[in-house]
């Protein structure tokens, strides 16, 4: 009955109530959103980086290298020579080395040349079919299969670069031989094939492309091979002067189509380029020393994902913190708003309180009436805030999914942090109602009624 009166009282002054609830909802929503984002973001980032000690790639920004090679969200820093990389990959300090060669995309989903070890690393079992073995066989991630409606045996053409609008490489079709099980990691949004597939596609691409496309590719840092068969045997030397050769030979070979045989042709590794190598080290001290040794001795760099990700987190940690302070500020204001609303109505309500006492209500019942009114507001605000925060997450998830292939789950609960938030909200409610409630408790009925 006291709760019923409290409920009716709240809605008797709908504007006051609305203001308090909106403020509470806003603050709880922002904090909930931050909690969920931070939690899932960090979990996603950390789960993808697990088991990768170093990433070897072209020199440039180490953060960019990590973002592109591990998270597939940024452009690569450039290419590295496969033969050069190989000498480090075969080093006894290395436990596993997974080479990556970026090339094309299919409707925005990256096609990455790699080895089956990549799937193994992310714990991606095959849901259907088998792992790629031959060139142009691909395994698609679960999200790709779902969104593109791909089945085993389907064929498709890739587009050049990492945007869906790139030039279509219609000389070779990829064939889906396997669909990976869902992992919740980057691999879900990738299409994987052998590294020679990427080389082969670009061998042909270049034969037919002009100079512009050529330069463009360098800028994009695709893994490609500029060498023609004539130069293949020159090995790494060809690497240095392949520009000239490539241009010189483009026109010569214009009419020399030989697609049918290229499929089977064993593609030489010499002079070929890849984009990055994910390394897991046996020898932990080497983890540190390689970060200095590799850039000193080669044109490559070795970046530590853990270090770079911590740097990234601390960068936008400042932004998150600012938002958090803002949200707590709003919560403080909502507490003050509840206090003012309760305190203001106290003057007119003291007759109501006196009347309740006359009718037999005890002091404690009045105290609880005021507290319950405040708590109803707070709980309502918390519930709405939790919902609104999750709606916000869905919206953010939608845009981040489109841009970064990273989605957030709004239905997870971070029990401890959200629990604290709930307790905080309740505490705000109790503190805001404390003075009005004590005033109601200690009301002198006789005096109130006599002075009427």
């Amino acid at each position: 009955m006291i709760t019923k009166i409290a409920w009716k009282n709240i809605w008797f002054k709908p504007l006051n109530t609305l203001l308090s609830i909106i403020l509470l909802t806003a603050s709880v929503a922002i904090i909930t959103l931050l909690i969920l984002l931070q939690e899932q973001f960090e979990k996603k980032f950390n789960s993808n980086v697990e088991g990768i000690d170093l990433v070897m790639g072209a020199q440039g920004s180490p953060l960019q290298l990590i973002l592109s090679a591990v998270y597939q969200v940024d452009a690569p820093t450039g290419n590295i020579s496969y033969t050069e990389a190989k000498t480090w990959m075969d080093n006894p300090f290395v436990e596993t080395a997974i080479p990556l060669a970026f090339g094309d995309n299919y409707n925005g989903f990256k096609i990455v040349g790699t080895t089956p070890a990549y799937l193994e690393h992310y714990g991606a079992k095959m849901a259907q079919g088998k792992i790629f073995r031959e060139n142009f066989e691909v395994v698609v991630g679960s999200a790709v299969a779902e969104k593109m409606q791909l089945k085993i045996g389907d064929e498709f053409f890739g587009s050049h670069g990492d945007s869906a609008e790139g030039e279509v490489h219609d000389t070779h079709a990829y064939t889906v031989t396997g669909i990976a099980a869902k992992t919740g990691k980057v691999v879900d949004n990738l299409i994987l094939c052998t590294i020679p597939s990427v080389w082969a596609i670009h061998d042909h691409g270049h034969d037919h492309e002009g100079e512009n496309a050529h330069n463009h590719e360098h800028a994009e840092g695709e893994a490609h091979d500029h060498n023609h068969e004539a130069h293949a045997h020159e090995g790494s030397d060809a690497h240095d002067d392949h520009h000239n050769h490539a241009e010189a030979h483009t026109h010569d070979r214009e009419h020399d189509h030989d697609h049918d045989h290229d499929h089977e042709a064993e593609i030489s590794e010499a002079g070929k380029e890849i984009t990055a190598v994910l390394l897991k080290m046996k020898n932990k001290p080497a983890l540190l020393s390689w970060q200095y040794m590799i850039p000193m001795n080669t044109k490559m760099q070795a970046a530590s994902p853990g270090k770079e990700i911590n740097r990234l987190f601390s960068l936008f940690g400042i932004g998150l913190q600012a938002l958090q302070y803002l949200a707590y500020g709003i919560m403080l204001i909502s507490g003050i708003s509840i206090f003012i609303a309760l305190f203001n109505t106290l003057k007119e309500r003291k007759y109501e309180f006196a009347l309740l006492r006359v009718n037999g209500a005890s002091r404690t019942e009045l105290l609880s009436l005021v507290l319950i009114e405040s708590l109803i507001l707070c709980v309502t605000g918390f519930v709405f805030g939790t919902i609104v925060g999750r709606i916000g997450l869905v919206l953010i998830s939608g845009s981040s999914e489109e841009e970064f292939k990273m989605s957030f789950n709004p239905f997870t609960f971070v029990w401890d942090k959200e629990g604290y938030l709930f307790l905080l909200t309740i505490a705000v409610g109790i503190i805001a109602a404390l003075i009005p409630a004590i005033k109601a408790y200690s009301l002198n009925i006789s005096k109130t009624l006599a002075n009427a």
Partner: protein, 209 residues
């Protein structure tokens, strides 16, 4: 019935009252009159347990409320004493019916909805049951507060200037109503007033001086 013995009350320096002993039997009406500042309202609040006397006894059906602890007094008041105040106060967010039901709940712990309805109908308020109290006229509001005062079959009904804001016709109607209801409910009725119209209406009077 209610009876008092030697009650004295003081607001601190200067103002202290020694009230004459009063007695009101079941179903009978006692009028307490006197000029302002003579302690009429103070006496009423003492009788209703809203104030506690410095000394003396206030017996309501052989229970001395002057000696009762606060918590039990709230309870006793809700169950056994009905108030009709000078101005009618309500829980503004509740309807007429809910206000009366609330009084039954506060007094007895049960929600006597049917009884509340019957009482309000008897007082001619059948069309106002689900309105907010602020939508009613002063006269209607006064009747609602009478219904509320009677909902728990109180042993004592206290009225503080119940007619001061009413015109002659309404004042007499309310006076008749209170008198009749006190008889019907078998409750002792004590009215505090300086209203001449009531002094003419009720014979059993005590004048504070």
């Amino acid at each position: 019935m209610i009876s008092t013995k030697n009650i004295a009350f003081s607001y601190g320096k200067g103002t202290s009252f020694n009230f004459p002993d009063i007695v009101a039997q079941k179903g009978s009406t006692l009028l307490i009159t006197g000029g302002s500042g003579k302690g009429k309202t103070t006496l009423l609040h003492l009788l209703g347990g809203l104030l506690k006397p410095q000394s003396g006894e206030i017996n309501i059906d052989n229970t001395n409320i002057a000696a009762m602890p606060d918590g039990r007094l709230d309870n006793f008041r809700g169950k056994n004493i009905g108030f009709v105040l000078q101005q009618a106060y309500f829980v503004e967010s509740l309807t007429v019916l809910e206000n009366v039901v609330l009084a039954s709940w506060l007094g007895t712990g049960r929600q006597a909805t049917e009884k509340a309805k019957a009482l309000l109908v008897q007082l001619g308020l059948q069309d106002q049951l689900n309105k907010l109290p602020s939508r009613l006229s002063i006269g209607q509001q006064q009747r609602v507060s009478i219904a509320r005062a009677l909902i728990n079959d109180p042993k004592l009904l206290l009225a503080d200037e119940p007619t001061s804001s009413l015109d002659d016709e309404n004042a007499l109607t309310v006076a008749d109503m209170l008198d009749r209801l006190a008889r019907q409910f078998g409750t002792a009725l004590v009215i505090v007033t300086h209203d001449q119209r009531l002094k003419d209406r009720f014979l059993n009077q005590i004048n504070l001086s």
